[in-house]
Amino acid sequence: MNGEPITGAVGAPRPRIEGPLKVTGTARYAADVPMPGLAHGWIVTATVSRGRLRAIDTSAALGMPGVLGVLDHRDAPRLNPAAGNYFGPDGSLQLLQDDVIPYAGRPIALVLAETLEQARAAAGAIRVDYDVQPHDVGFHLDHPASRPASTAFGPEADTGDVDAELAASAVVIDERYRTPEECHSAMEPHAATAWWENGHLYAVDSNQGAFSVSQVLAALWSIDRDRVHVRSEHVGGGFGGKGLCGPQVILAAMAGERFERPVRVTLTREQVFEATASRPPTDQQVRIGADADGRLRAVHHRAAYALSPLAEYIEWCTEQAKILYAAPAIRTQLTAVPLDVLPPASMRGPGATPGSFALESAMDEVAERLGLDPLELRLRNQPTAAPVSGRPFSSRRLISCLQEGARRFGWAARDRHPRTRREGPLLIGSGMAATSFSAGVFPSTASITAETDGTFTVGIDASDIGTGARTALTAVAADALGVGTEQIRIRIGDSDLGMAWGAGGSRGTTSWSFAIIEAAKKLRERLDDPARPVTATMDTSALIDYQPARERQTFSAVFAEVTVDPATGEVRVRRLLGMFAVGRVINPMLARSQVVGGMIMGLSMALHEESVRDPGTGRQVNGDFAGYHIAAHADVPDIEADFVPDYEPQDPSGFNGLGEIGTAGTAAAIANAVWHATGRRQRSLPIRLDRVLEAVPAQAPAGEVHAA
């Protein structure tokens, strides 16, 4: 093949390749795959937050029609306790291994039956006695059990003299911000179908990375990874909640082994809440000092989050304090509080999403105190290099996002004084926030085969959890091979395709694209030889610069307009606009859908979402979609999102990830808009009716309507 590749697939808006399957109901998700001889598993979960199992009485259940058996800690297959994840051994994977109850919702038994109804009825007939021990789910920043968080993601910041700079500041704010425990709530409950054949484990599972799940399963069963085959062709959303090896596939594999049948385990919606993962609650203190002209002198971000002693975890709330603004003194302190709760996991924009709520709310408070436009405050404090590491930025188009977003939103016409706009009984306000999210690349393997018919088959264990990976990677492969997209066939979602990063950390598409581009380069060198089929495979592990000299971040600016009804406390988002700098955009239509979806999750976080635990039992009391509201159609306005021209120099194609940055920033923009509407700060999420009602002054201006 001669000449430069044809370009043009990347950058063009194209509908999803699998679209026709999804709109006709023919796309098969993990619980949809037909399977002869299938048995159904039903999970029994612990109802206490801490204790030990005294007795499990399965006798009634075992006598019920269709019941094949019950697995519990007394007889379940033994798992390798060393199996784990990124941080090392992970106790959350060790299901049915002992009598210890570390959190309410922990799976303690699995009933297997011929039908769903039989399994469910038998699960209800199992009697469990506990030795209940005192639990602690009372989370706060100064909890006595708190400890410094792991610094595996990077060191804490401690530049300059924060206290001296604060003392010398014209304005100092020192506030606490709180975000609740939240649930990823993908629409597809975690489901897996698993079976064993000749010492090999096969599973169709809902997850965000089939290869990593196969690695964990292989470790749990102490077998070669090549003997574990995990497929996840279509996944009904993840948002981080399916990033790890989930209980569904571990339990299905156990039962499949014991009963020598294919087993399907699907979590109920309640079990998704109590037994999968959560975004941990955060309690954050932000201190910012500024000169009268709006120059920041000090930023001190101290944040705590809850976790479980079962597994290490980092909710990196303080990262943006090291990236967004220049200041002579910056200090971050991240604290982990071990409690008797469900182990947390990354949820869309982990760290950055709750962290930016605190930091960007605090920046708004600084602007208020200075009598300065909050947009102007941000523009005055833009760094030329990363404020803490001192490294230059790879690409930093935040100013473009701020200015273009402000122009489109009509920000210049805004009166910065609060509680000045009314429409009938409604108070109107607008707010904004800036944000960043780290970008990068992880090792992956891609294979490309030039087929005899002139087409190319691309194989990579990418995961399409709604991101449009299949469609985006087809465009990347087409350009890399210099052919049209119609000549590309792509296979994803199969651990047999080789080692690959999952859909997480906003690094899926960059990691997979890199591998595809390298495989295409290698294949093109061999295409002069007419032999077909011919395959090239590339593993990018050795090609990645793990300590790049430049900070690689994506940026955005979010603008919101809200209406507040002081008589009901209802906040409605009327306008939401995001401008994003995320490198070169592969498919503008799908990319826009993804950042809009992220902003909607941020809206939902701002106004609706809260996992409420009863302190008496430690259990979540609102673990379904009636009690835990996620934004519905009627909550969501039309949303404007667009991209400023950007190119990531550290990526061979200029790409960066964009799956998570839409969520970060949105909650602060909305909270700041609610302040602008009402004159009262909302420092705890969600901005519930009662919090807004409380914030309405008793002496209402004439003509304002109040609830009786």
């Binding site: 023919t26 597809e188 009904g236 993840g238 948002f239 709604g466 909607i600 379904d624 519905a632």
Partner: protein, 180 residues
């Protein structure tokens, strides 16, 4: 065969009769998925709270997870698999693909069935909570974004495809209107 715990029924699904024996506890959703292999309708919550299982029962939308299979006998059941006609995508389905009205696709079968049912409800003059004038002799209410959002709010989408879904539904409605 009938007995204490099971019943022999006939389900009329997407134009075809199916005779089957079901556990009396079996929901229409599980009968469609487990007995008939119609896995288009999805189980998102099993509680009627998310709408992913929405199907049409004699043209009206129901959550099939809260409908017992034995209670659906005699009704015409339409699942998402029955929305397309003669192999071609229906107008709402086309709009979903072209305007990107979904991401993960899990809520999509319910959104599409709900949209079909909702457009019929609107055409029949049913008001919604945001309809300004609900008096019987009031003016025909136009289907705007507020009406679509209100009427589709029983169908949750965690990916946040709502704005595109609303556009796809309004576009399909306009096409239907023009074809009339």
């Amino acid at each position: 065969m009938t007995g204490t715990f099971s019943s022999a029924i006939t389900l009329h699904v997407n134009g075809t009769d199916h005779e089957l024996t079901v556990d009396n506890r079996r929901t229409l959703l599980d009968a469609l998925r487990e007995n008939l292999g119609r896995t288009g309708p999805k189980k998102g919550c099993d509680h009627g709270q998310c709408g992913a299982c929405t199907v049409l029962l004699d043209g009206r939308r129901v959550v099939s997870c809260l409908t017992l299979a034995v209670a659906a006998e005699g009704a015409a059941v339409t699942t998402v698999e029955g929305i397309a006609g003669d192999g071609a995508l229906g107008p709402i389905q086309q709009g979903f693909v072209r305007l990107d009205g979904f991401q993960c696709g899990y809520c999509t079968p319910g959104q599409i069935c709900s949209a079909v049912g909702m457009l019929a409800e609107h055409a029949a003059g049913w008001p919604s909570a945001v309809t300004a004038d609900v008096s019987p002799d009031g003016p025909a209410h136009e289907l705007d974004t507020a009406e679509v959002r209100e009427r589709m709010s029983g169908n949750l989408c965690r990916c946040g495809a709502y704005p595109s879904i609303v556009r796809a539904v309004l576009e399909a409605a306009a096409r239907e209107e023009a074809a009339r």
